[in-house]
């Protein structure tokens, strides 16, 4: 149990993932929601790298993780641009007050 193996890494990934979703659900500030998304992406990356190490996949898992990092960078840039736009329109970034989707 204490001998570190694949399972340990997967568990870390699972916990990080759940915390990320928790962050997305509970935070009011859109920037904080973004932080939650970053946590989720990191959790997924840990899984990729762990399987790449312990499964017989060569470097393919790490390549996937690399792509995720690239996508995360693009996503962060776009999301922050959108957040800035929201701020210009509503003068705040509280996601619970932006409910145009309702009507």
């Amino acid at each position: 149990m204490l001998q570190v193996g694949l399972t340990h890494f997967l568990v870390i990934g699972a916990i990080l993932f759940s915390l990320g979703i928790y962050g997305i659900i509970t935070r009011k500030n859109a920037v904080m929601v973004l932080m939650g998304v970053e946590l989720i992406l990191n959790a997924a990356n840990i899984n990729f790298v762990a399987f790449s190490r312990y499964g017989n996949f060569g470097l393919n898992g790490q390549i996937a993780a690399l792509f995720v990092i690239v996508l995360a960078a693009a996503e962060a840039a776009i999301a922050l641009a959108i957040v800035l736009n929201i701020y210009k329109t509503y003068s705040n970034v509280n996601v619970d007050e932006i409910s145009n989707l309702k009507e």
Partner: protein, 708 residues
């Protein structure tokens, strides 16, 4: 000087002109002196190329090849691994082409400084020259068909840009479009040929393709496909080297600036087609070579007859270029490989000299191009006159010039070919063209430089060109003398060019697809017992002459007859030219009167443009008109008819709608409204609430399926 250093240098020399293009085209508008940067670049390129060529020709008898995988697909369905290589191959041909391209490019740059002076797009002109040099060097240096094709299109682009350089003139922009489109026709064939080869061999690299063919692996297991591939790739050369029937673009391309005509449309780019055929020579079957020989011979004859009657100084030179390119292609077709390449080099120098000389004349005459308005310019432009004369002697094939050596070799090759295969009309056309060439070139010289000035106003203002224009002329004229190529003025066989540098490569096509004279005796025996000639691949590829004893002997035997006959033909042509235009013993007008139909036929360029207008272009227009008619009458009619029918049907269904469907719909609306009112509360519009629902759903799914 190690091999890897040579490779590095060759890559540097390839990309320097691109750098020049980028810098000059981006900064040329701000800094008017930016063309000096391009001059610097081209000088550096020239020096590096000369270094490469010197070391390659002196110290490395074998080819220097460097390649790397550009990208590879490791599992393509049905094929496996696909590798795309890029690489550089420096053999003797490449080294010689490096000298030719860079030297002429440099001289043309130099010439243009004065010729293009005062042009509003002066810097842009130089940057275009830079991108042209880049793409031409790419063609020369590459070792595979894919890169060849890429650079092929790039020279097409730079040619387009430079022909249409004065795009305010409608004729220039039309000519550039024509050149581009006509070239596309040839390129489609080339593309198809490349695809045939790639489908079968999964590689673009020349040497690998040849190796597989020599091992008996034919495209689709059929020699006919090998012939087809050869002819299709040759179609690219037909377009780029302006062979019949795609030669129509080259004369129109003379709308570009004259130095450009010298560089692109006489010396280097149009020779790229010949260079391509040289590269694929080893895989040409006897049938493909026959086609090539016939196309070359026909082209050279047609172009020579047209050149007889043209009055624009550049048009005459353009048609003579087409004619000489036909010569080279014909030489390749008859198997006189080394002489074809030799002629490519010598022609590049003397034709560049002729074009730059005509540029000098045009410059002096304030952009007058009609030779009927010239005359007597010998006294006003002595340097231009003498350099022009030397080049004219070279193109006519007079002894002690470079043109004599290469032309003589080609004619001897055709004569041998006629003797061995029975196609006598090819040597016949060859010698006839030699006569015509001498005639029209001297007609040009006499009308331009000799006799009395016909336009006194322009004559009085004519002046000899300054140093930067005269120097290239002198250098190029010097290179048209025999001594650079061989110490023996009547035969180039012993010269270093042919005995050391350019060797006919080993052909790789199967025995029964070769000409008889290209089989060696024991291999013929092997072919008879229907045994695949496997040992052939082991034979040393380099420095071997493919041709059999029979061919060598026949070639030797036809050397002197061909030489005397060609001198006689050239002398006859020059004599006629002097009789008619210099001494006026025979009246040109009278001849014209007597041969009126022939003269008109020639003056109108065999009506080939008109033919294309009447067939392809009119056909395309008629086809599009027909499509328009179909569109407007049939399709629109169908649509309108459908509309009428639909209107009727819709009226019927409208009644049905009102009473039956609406009742149902109203009920549904009421029902969904009722449900919606109750479920509305779930839709808070807050994203996070939705996320909670999603997670909740996932939990339920996990509980149902129990994956743990």
């Amino acid at each position: 000087m190690t091999e890897s250093l040579l490779i590095t240098l060759s890559i540097v020399t390839l990309f320097l002109p691109l750098l020049g293009f980028a810098v000059v085209v981006l900064t040329g508008k701000k800094f008017s002196k930016m063309y000096l940067f391009e001059m610097l670049i081209i000088s550096a390129t020239l020096l590096i190329s000369l270094t490469i060529a010197f070391f390659k020709l002196s110290y490395y008898p074998h080819d220097i090849v460097a390649s790397l995988d550009w990208f590879k697909f490791s599992n393509v369905p049905g094929i496996g691994t696909l590798n795309f290589e890029i690489g550089v191959k420096i053999d003797n041909l490449t080294a010689l082409m490096l000298i030719v391209v860079n030297l002429i490019s440099f001289l043309v740059h130099l010439f243009s400084i004065e010729y293009m002076h005062g042009d509003p797009r002066y810097n842009r002109y130089f940057s275009y020259l830079g991108i042209f040099t880049f793409s031409m060097l790419g063609i020369v240096l590459t070792h595979n068909l894919l890169m060849m094709y890429i650079f092929w299109e790039l020279v097409g682009l730079s040619s387009y840009l430079l022909i249409g350089f004065w795009f305010e003139k409608k004729s220039a922009s039309d000519a550039s479009k024509k050149a581009f489109i006509v070239n596309r026709v040839g390129d489609i064939g080339m593309f198809a040929g490349i695809l045939i080869l790639f489908t079968n061999y999964h590689t673009f690299t020349f040497d690998k393709i040849f190796e597989q063919i020599s091992m008996g692996h034919l495209p689709f297991n059929s020699p006919a496909w090998l012939t087809a591939a050869g002819i299709l790739v040759f179609m690219g050369a037909v377009g780029k080297s302006a062979q019949f029937p795609l030669h129509v673009w080259l004369p129109d391309a003379m709308e570009g600036p004259t130095p450009v005509s010298a560089l692109i449309h006489a010396a280097t780019m149009v020779a790229a087609g010949v260079y391509l055929v040289v590269r694929i020579f080893a895989m040409l079957t006897a049938d493909a070579m026959t086609v090539i020989a016939i196309i070359g011979a026909v082209t050279s004859f047609i172009a020579a007859t047209i050149a007889l009657t043209q009055n624009d100084i550049k048009k005459v030179l353009a048609y003579s270029t087409v004619s000489q390119l036909g010569y080279m292609i014909m030489a390749l077709g008859v198997g006189a490989y080394s002489f074809a390449f030799f002629h490519l080099v010598t022609h590049a120098f003397f034709k560049a000299c002729l074009f730059l000389g005509s540029g000098s004349v045009i410059h002096a005459m304030h952009h007058e191009q009609d030779i009927r308005n010239m005359g007597g310019l010998r006294k006003k432009l002595p340097i231009t006159y003498y350099t022009f004369l030397i080049s004219t002697l070279a193109i006519s094939g007079i002894p002690f010039t470079s043109g004599f050596l290469s032309k003589d070799g080609i004619l001897a090759g055709t004569l041998t070919f006629g003797k061995l295969t029975g196609y006598w009309f090819i040597p016949a056309l060859g010698f006839l063209v030699a006569l015509l060439t001498a005639f029209y070139m001297f007609r040009l010289v006499i009308l331009t430089f000799h006799g009395e000035p016909r336009d006194h106003h322009k004559y009085d203002h004519a002046h000899e060109s300054p140093f930067v224009m005269a120097a290239p002329l002198v250098i190029l004229a010097t290179l048209s003398i025999f001594i650079w190529y061989t110490p023996n003025p009547v035969g180039a066989d012993q010269g270093w060019f042919l005995s050391k540098w350019v060797k006919t490569p080993h052909t790789v096509v199967p025995q029964n697809q070769r000409f008889n004279f290209m089989k060696t005796e024991e291999k013929t025996a092997a072919a008879e017992t229907s045994e695949p000639a496997l040992h052939e691949a082991e034979a040393p590829v380099h420095g071997e002459i493919t041709h059999s004893e029979m061919y060598t002997e026949a070639m030797h035997a036809s050397h002197y007859p061909a030489m005397f006959l060609s001198i006689a033909m050239a002398g006859l042509g020059i004599l006629f030219a002097f009789l008619i235009y210099q001494w006026k013993k025979i009246s040109a007008d009278m001849l014209e009167e007597k041969l009126r139909p022939l003269h008109k036929f020639s003056l109108n360029k065999w009506y080939i443009d008109e033919l294309y207008d009447a067939t392809w272009i009119a056909g395309t227009l008629a086809f599009s008109k027909m499509l328009y008619w179909i569109d407007s009458v049939i399709i629109d009619g169908a649509v309108n008819g459908a509309a009428t029918v639909t209107r009727f049907v819709s009226r019927l269904s409208g009644l049905f709608d009102t009473f039956v469907v609406d009742g149902f719909v109203n009920f549904t609306a009421f029902l969904s409204g009722f449900i919606g009112l109750n479920f509305k509360k779930l839709q808070t519009g807050k994203v996070q609430t939705y996320v909670i629902f999603v997670v909740f759903a996932i939990i339920i799914i996990m509980l149902v399926f129990k994956p743990y």
